[in-house]
Point group: D2
Chain length 370, copies 4
């Protein structure tokens, strides 16, 4: 007869430990007119492809670092851990989901479709069934290095169409990655064709510790959505050390609500910007109101005898700004303020924000008017 005794009190009530011991530090970016400014990372990995962490770590890290939404996007084809972990394209999402509910993080289902260039690597997010993105011939080729026909091994159309069929939003990852673009970044006809067919809607202007100025211009020319993702494989803390950075790359999404559906709507409408190192990168129509919301110019608090006005300029965001004109260079650190003096008849100062890019070679102009 079987005996039943209470299970060992192992207390791996990991959430409890998590909730008591970890801290969330918000990233500050003000909302813009009509939209919430959400902080998102749509490209991350776990042990279920070539990442180094358990899926819940992605949620923990994102929570601690102040994000609103992430997607776990393991490679469908590249499975270097398969000797130890059976391929399971849905595991990352499945395991991380409960923890995302607990932490109020929006978790978006995704996968990375992994091909030679072109088209290179592409993420499909907001998909519903990752397994269907797997192509038998490609899988076999990856495992054995053999293929019946080259065409089979390279086929990319099926998973891209499948991702779109599932309602997914597909974007092109790290277009200038040296391994796939040894002669420099370029857009192929393959991509133009995918864009024309409505199958490819965004491109990473930022990936890991690089940004691709040309990709920003493509976003403008081809009406693509600006994406800025970490592509993190390591624990996020290690990523920051390796990339010598103080925050992860973030896609700022200007969404009507803080919901998964609203994020999707915003991505489809192209309402995003990149936050990378001390840079804000994106289309002027979104970057301009964002920067205006970030930098608050107060009324003068003092006027000296000779008419000089003393003005407090506050940076309401976590982003460091560098504002330059002929007269001066202002380093306006995140969450800090500076003092400015305005002459007797002066009520505005014009600067160029050297850290804000609205095309590959154009910075945003900023007027500080009190």
């Amino acid at each position: 007869m079987k005996t039943r005794i209470p299970l060992f009190a192992l207390i791996v009530i990991s959430f409890q430990a998590f909730s008591q011991h970890t801290l969330r530090k918000e990233i500050n970016f003000p909302d813009i007119e009509g939209y919430h400014t959400l902080k998102c990372d749509f490209h991350t990995h776990t042990v279920f492809s070539d990442g180094k962490v358990w899926p819940t770590v992605r949620v923990d890290d994102a929570w601690r670092m102040g994000l609103d939404a992430i997607s776990i996007t393991d490679h469908i084809e590249y499975q270097p851990h398969k000797d130890y972990i059976p391929t399971n394209h849905d595991a990352g999402y499945e395991i991380a989901l409960p923890h995302s509910h607990e932490t109020n993080l929006i978790l978006i289902k995704g996968s990375e479709i992994t091909r030679h260039m072109p088209p290179g690597h592409l993420n499909g997010i907001f998909i519903t069934d990752s397994k269907k993105l797997e192509t038998e011939a490609v899988r076999k080729y990856w495992e054995t290095g053999e293929t019946d026909t080259v065409r089979d091994a390279l086929d990319y159309m099926k998973p891209i169409e499948e991702a779109n069929r599932q309602g997914g939003f597909v974007f092109w990852n790290h277009p200038g990655w040296a391994s796939q673009a040894p002669n420099g970044i370029k857009m192929y006809d393959v991509h133009k064709d995918l864009i024309k067919k409505g199958l490819l809607k965004g491109v990473e202007v930022v990936n890991w510790d690089y940004w691709y100025p040309e990709a920003l211009d493509w976003c403008i020319e081809y009406n693509l959505t600006v994406m800025s993702n970490s592509d993190v494989h390591e624990p996020s803390g290690t990523f920051l050390e390796m990339a010598d950075n103080t925050h992860m790359p973030v896609t700022l999404v200007f969404a009507k609500e803080r919901t998964e559906a609203a994020i999707k709507e915003a991505l489809l409408a192209g309402r995003t910007a990149a936050w990378f190192e001390d840079k804000i990168i994106g289309k002027e129509e979104f970057v301009d109101p964002l920067v205006k919301a970030c930098i608050k110019v107060n009324k003068p608090h003092y006027v000296s005898e000779n008419g000089t006005k003393y003005v407090l300029v506050e940076n309401l965001s976590s982003c460091d700004f560098t504002l330059v004109n002929d007269q001066q260079t202002l380093h306006l650190k995140g969450d800090n303020s500076v003092l400015l003096t305005y002459g007797k008849d002066e009520s505005e100062k014009k600067f160029t924000a050297k850290n804000v890019f609205i095309t590959s070679d154009k910075n945003l102009d900023v007027v500080l008017r009190y």
Copy 2:
């Protein structure tokens, strides 16, 4: 005949350098019902007594560190730099004032009356003429070590009365300072007498890197105002290294407005608390609403199948809180959030805030109710 040529272009337009290059980082403490929470330091020194910095440095440091108001309170009697700097009791205020206007810092005129214990050292702030606090016999004694009568050398009543006559607010500094209280902190009859006469209205519960629990009890018993000051002599950055701290001691003043007059009214009404290291110290009537304003308990964002509710608790202040009960210890770092879980039928959790003192040996109770 005299020739006039343009003065050397030395460009010691120090304000311009200051405004372009230094940053202010706010200290976060929410306002409480009916009052602004102002961050103040009423005890600092400059080269005009035994301090190590030019008066404008006090303003610069206070501005950078997020304060609203300071007082420069050089010793009247102790003048160790007098071989190089002629005694000038008004110089600190005079030199710092223009820069305080430029930086929108409230500068309060003050002086430190320096005697043996009792009564020890006392600050008079909101005074109008520091020179009148100087007693000839005391000055002479300080300079020569000689005195006509001991009584003359020790006289303290005149400057205290004079400070009060000028409308000053007088408080007792570092009552437990080892040099003057080698056998431990105690209140003398001299102090009780001064209090009874309405000449002494506050006491430093915090000075430099010490806090005096007994002094908190005196504030309650004798209706004194809680003061928490740095007594900084060095540059503030060096102070922080020496005291192994991340912020200066601050007197939180609950004032009707951000004006000098409103600060004075609040000090007279006893509406203050101390922020020292990770501690908030003061009378319960002010500390309780402050802590309630600092810790925001959100509505549950998720309820699990078994009814567990997940709640985000935000620390809206720069102060680190340590909340303890039988079940758990919460380290709620400044400007960070934690997650808490509430049971199916639970809507509040009771804690003791180990870092918040409302008497010498009593911590504030805190209820986290969503």
Copy 3:
């Protein structure tokens, strides 16, 4: 016919990325007479039990943080990831080993034997075949909660004997862990019996963010080896945030060489100490020479007219020391120096090192003699 084309250039040449981008920061502890001072962590987890990281991350983190040796000690019995990862007790070591060679880290094979108290959890390290530590009845009980007999489910002797048979060094983990010692830490007869039989040779005086003073006394009384381990499950960076610490717990091993064999010899001989937060904890015979090596008192560099001697005291270690006597409190931060003054006829100063424990309630005495 099969075609062979070059494998996708995925460039997950992770070592190359690692070597170019990550940095190692040494932990400084001087050697002591006759021995190298090695920095080790003998208790860590990976995804192959309830840890959150891939085994190579343990090597990466240890390398970056300046360790010499680690052991990966996944639970034999507790396998919460088994729905996704087939149980494989040797996987952690197998996967991490090549990377340990590359980084010159000593990787020691180990496993955690996981039982109710007594005896609680025990690590076997320097073992050769983890799989043999698995007991069928226990495994079954863990998976189903059912057991033929309670005795079977609780049996602990077999794996402990097996670990010793393999040449393993077995020690008791977190003896005061609240989940297994709700009424406080205590040593059971079971432990005494294991010690007497020579099957249990060490105990964790430090685990995660706790230290157990009683366990230090046991080490002295029962001649056990002092162990100080992280028991890290998360990425190490997250551990440090959760434990609010700046370094991981470290077992300092005084070894004849920097080899696995020498570490084993040292553990068997009991030549260790714990470094935890700012504390050094261990038997006086090892802690005393270590502290003497850490704190260097220089010859006076200046003698004033009145005979006062000025002396530079250097902390050659990464550990912060707090030295106290009647006169003064010295905070001697890691890798920093302080100045001391010695009187005319004084050539030594006696202190108690408040951060150095040689029994549960006794600090090391330190003489600073120039």
Copy 4:
């Protein structure tokens, strides 16, 4: 009759407080063959001209920040504090000297000769009598803006000759300072003449938060000594915030001993280099051996099956290095190590040190050979 009572126990035994509470953190730069590498700052200010701190603060800050030697070099002519502090050109040295003895810092007497461009501002150090550098006509002009003849007001020859007569070493400060070089940095005939006469022997290649590449070329062409100084007016901690830096500019002096005389000999012999931000700047003959001493390439600790060798490269200095070649970019942070892989038949790697300048536009080549 006079009475004598013990002086008030004010305990401004500031050294004692200093020695107990402040910490010195060494700057790490290895010695080079035949010379000690000393860390020096030959340009600082105090309240005795336009500086903001008491002279002892310069010693305190230098001690804490790991320097070996400093010079206090207040302006002779520019005395903006004279309404409060009587001009006293020797006060800075006089006041700071005892504290420099206590802290074992080498204090070098100096003054800043302050003129229009050319020749601009020049420091005379190792002088013996600052007062003799004052020119009556210039002083009067500074005070009143009036002068009998323009020539008198601008005269610079007398103080330069006087400084040299006293055995002083005279160098040109911030040659490219925007206020005096609005059209860009250039060397005037005045300077060439001074150099030819042996009256001017060095130039600041670094001042505050700028470096002047052209000045490095002048050092080579005219055999001038490379100087790198802070010109700090504020407390050093504030300087670091304003200049957004983690250390002060340092002149590395390669001296036969750690004495004032040896520093002077080294400056006369031109044996210096600049450490500024992450840059080392100087003549190749000194910079090359320094960098070789900083970067230690160990023997391979592991050779993989395919012959790849794994090598630890240690940075023994506090300076961050950036080494670049066609293959890779190495960020070798101060006091950290990296791992490198060498191919089967490879025993050296060639890099260019992007942070090390040996002319205005040439970086040092570095070979990492094990």
